[in-house]
Symmetry: C2
Subunit: 365 residues, 2 copies
C-alpha cells in the first residue's frame, strides 16, 4: 500500500475537537444552550445575512481568488493597505499556512502550555518541535515566552491576546514590548481573535513595516460568523505575499466573501454584540458565584470560571451540564483545567445555564 510521509505516519487520525453536533449524536440528547465554542449566539449582522442570502444563487461562480473586495474592506476598516492583508479559512486555516511557510521538520515553535490546540495540531503536521512555558496567573506570559523563544531558537512564537481558553489580556504597552523584543528571525504570531471584546487600549498600533509580526483576526467571534470560515492576517507586505505561495486560492466561499464584506461595513452590529457580551459576562459571573465558583476577569466573549478543584471536578461540571442540554468546554491541561469555559449568550442561554447549574450542583452535593 502507499506509505504516508514519516511525519504523517506519527500523527493520530482523529477529529481533535468534538463539535456539539457530535455530542448530540453521541448522547442522543439535543443541546439547548450552545455556549461551548465561543460562537456568537447573537448572530451575524442582519446586513451580512442579507448579503449571504443574496449571494446564494450566485454560488455557481467561484469566489474571487484574490479576495480583492474583501481585503479592501478589511484594510479600510483597519487603516492599512490591502497588500498588508491575506484572507484564509478562519484563523485555523491561516495558522496552518503560516506553519507550512516557516517550519521544516525539527524547527522549534514556542507557545504557552494549554494555549490554542489547533495551532499545535498544525505544528505537529509540519514536524515542528513544540516547546511550551506555563501560564502565569492564568495569563500567557510574554517574558517567559521570550526567554523560551531565545533559548530554543524558536522560528515561531504564538501569543494570543486576549487569550483563549482563559479570557485574560495584556494591555497594548506590554504587547508592544513583546513585539519589540522578539528576535528578528523569529516570527511572532499574535492571535487577536477576541480583540473586539477587549478593553480599549489592548490592540497595539499597526506597524506594517515589521517583518517578524503577523496578527490574526476573524469573523468568527465579534462578527458572529464562525460558520463562514473567514479569517485574515495583517503583516508586512512581503510576508503577506508569501501566503500566495501555498494557499488554496479559490478556497473562500463566494457567499462567505459577500457576508464578510457586509459585516465589516456594519460596525454598529459589532458594537451591539459587544454590549450584549458585557451583559452576559456579568450574568455568567453571577451564576458561577452563586455556586461558589470564581469567574476570571474576561476580555473575550466567554468567561472562564475557576471551579477551585482539579480537572476531574471541572470535567464533571462540563459533563453534568451537557446532560441538561448545556454545551460548554474546559481547558485541556493542568492547572488551567481546574476551570470551565462558558461562552456568552442571550438571556435564553443564560437562563438555561442558570437552571442547569442548579441541577448539576444540587445533584452533586
Amino acid at each position: 500500500m502507499p506509505s504516508f510521509t514519516p511525519i504523517i505516519e506519527t500523527l493520530p487520525s482523529t477529529v481533535p475537537f468534538v463539535g456539539p453536533e457530535a455530542l448530540e449524536r453521541r448522547t442522543g440528547a439535543s443541546i439547548a444552550a450552545r455556549i461551548g465554542a465561543n460562537e456568537s449566539v447573537f448572530g451575524p449582522s442582519p446586513r451580512a445575512i442579507a448579503a449571504m442570502q443574496a449571494a446564494a444563487s450566485e454560488s455557481w461562480m467561484y469566489g474571487d481568488p484574490e479576495n480583492h473586495d474583501l481585503k479592501r474592506a478589511i484594510a479600510r476598516s483597519l487603516g492599512v493597505h490591502p497588500g498588508n492583508i491575506a484572507c484564509g479559512g478562519g484563523i485555523d486555516g491561516l495558522l496552518g499556512l503560516v506553519v507550512r511557510l516557516f517550519i521544516s521538520p525539527g524547527d522549534v515553535v514556542a507557545t504557552s502550555l494549554g494555549a490554542y490546540p489547533t495551532f499545535n495540531f498544525h505544528v505537529a503536521a509540519a514536524g515542528g518541535r513544540l516547546v511550551t512555558t506555563p501560564y502565569v496567573n492564568d495569563r500567557e506570559d510574554p517574558e517567559s515566552l521570550l526567554r523560551l523563544a531565545r533559548l530554543e531558537g524558536a522560528k515561531l512564537l504564538y501569543f494570543a491576546n486576549p487569550d483563549n481558553p482563559m479570557g485574560t489580556v495584556w494591555p497594548a504597552a506590554d504587547v508592544e514590548r513583546l513585539i519589540a523584543a522578539v528576535p528578528d528571525d523569529c516570527m511572532l504570531l499574535l492571535d487577536e481573535a477576541y480583540i473586539e471584546f477587549a478593553p480599549d487600549g489592548t490592540a497595539p498600533r499597526f506597524d506594517t513595516a515589521r517583518k517578524n509580526l503577523l496578527r490574526f483576526r476573524t469573523f468568527s467571534k465579534a462578527h458572529g460568523m464562525a460558520g463562514i470560515r473567514v479569517g485574515y492576517v495583517i503583516g508586512e507586505a512581503s510576508m503577506i505575499a508569501a501566503f500566495d505561495k501555498i494557499r488554496n486560492h479559490f478556497g473562500i466561499s463566494r457567499i462567505s466573501q459577500a457576508g464578510a464584506i457586509a459585516a465589516v461595513e456594519d460596525q454598529d452590529w459589532v458594537a451591539h454584540v459587544r454590549g450584549q457580551v458585557v451583559k452576559a459576562r456579568a450574568r455568567i459571573g453571577e451564576i458561577a458565584q452563586g455556586h461558589g465558583l470564581q469567574p476570571l476577569q474576561s476580555a473575550t466573549n466567554f468567561v472562564t470560571v475557576d471551579c477551585g478543584r482539579d480537572g476531574a471536578f471541572a470535567r464533571s461540571i462540563v459533563d453534568g451540564l451537557l446532560t441538561h442540554g448545556v454545551f460548554i468546554r474546559m481547558p485541556g491541561v493542568a492547572p488551567l483545567n481546574r476551570c470551565i469555559r462558558i461562552s456568552c449568550g442571550t438571556d435564553r442561554e443564560m437562563d438555561h445555564l442558570s437552571r442547569a447549574m442548579q441541577q448539576v450542583f444540587s445533584n452533586s452535593r
Copy 2:
C-alpha cells in the same frame, strides 16, 4: 527577518489562476459571458439555494467538523459507506491534503504534461518531484502514465477522467485496467470532477477495499456550486481516515454543508443541467465550426476547440473574446495550447459567444 523553509523559498508568490474578477479589474471592462472556468451557468439546484438561504442566519455556528450529515448524504447517493468519504475545500483543497499526506521532499509524482495545474502547485509546495508524460491524441494516456510511474517509482499518479483541459474521456474498462495495474505502493488519484457529464459507462465501480486508489468529486461542476467550496474523496477507510490527521476540521462553511446536502438530494437538477450541457456543447461546436475551428468531442461541461495553429493564435482568440466581454480560457502548454476551452452556458451566453466570435474573426482576417 524570519526565514521561510527551503522549499517555500523557491516558490513564486503569485495567484496562479487569474479569476474573471481580476480580468475585469485589469481591463476595466465587464464580462458578459462568464464561460471560462467551467462553472455551471445553469446555477445550483433551487433546493440548494433555499437551503443555503435558510442556513445564512445560522452562520454564527461552526459547521459540523465531522461533516457527518454531508458524508452520509454523499455515501448514500454513491452506495458506499460514510467511512469511505472525506470532504474538503473543493477538489483543490483535497489534492493539497493528499500531497501532504504522501509526499516528502524529493518524492516523485507522475501526471500528464498539461494536466491540472493546481495539483502541480500543491506538489511544488511539498517539494515533490513532478514527472510528466504527454497527452496522446488529446487524451491523458494510461499506458504512458503507468510506464512513467513504474520507471520513476512515483508515490502518486494523477489521472483525470474525463480530462480537463481537453474534455476527453476513457471508458470504465480502460480506467479499471489502469487501476488494476498501478503498483501497490503508488496512490492513484482519479479526478472525476466532470464525471456527471460523461457517457454512461465512464465511472468504474466503487472498490473501497483498494488501498491505492482515491477518487475525487465535487459540487463545483454538475451541481453548479463552485462558489461553496465542497469536494469529496472516496477511498478505502484507513486512507480516508488519514485526512483527519491534517485537515482543517472546521474548514467547510456551515452554509456550504447545508447547500451540498440539499444538492445531493436533488439529482433531478443534475439531470436537468446535464441536458442543458448537451445542448450547449452542440452549440459551441457549431459556432466553432462556423469559423473553421475543430471542436473536440467533450465528456464535460466545456468544449475544447482546436484552433489549428499555435498557442499565440489561440491566445489571440482568448484575448479577442475578452475585449468583447467573453471570458474563456486555454490550455497552458504545447501542443494542447493550440486549443481554446469554452464552458457551456445558457442561450444567453452562447449567443454572446457567437457574436463575439464573429467580431474577433472579422477583425483578424
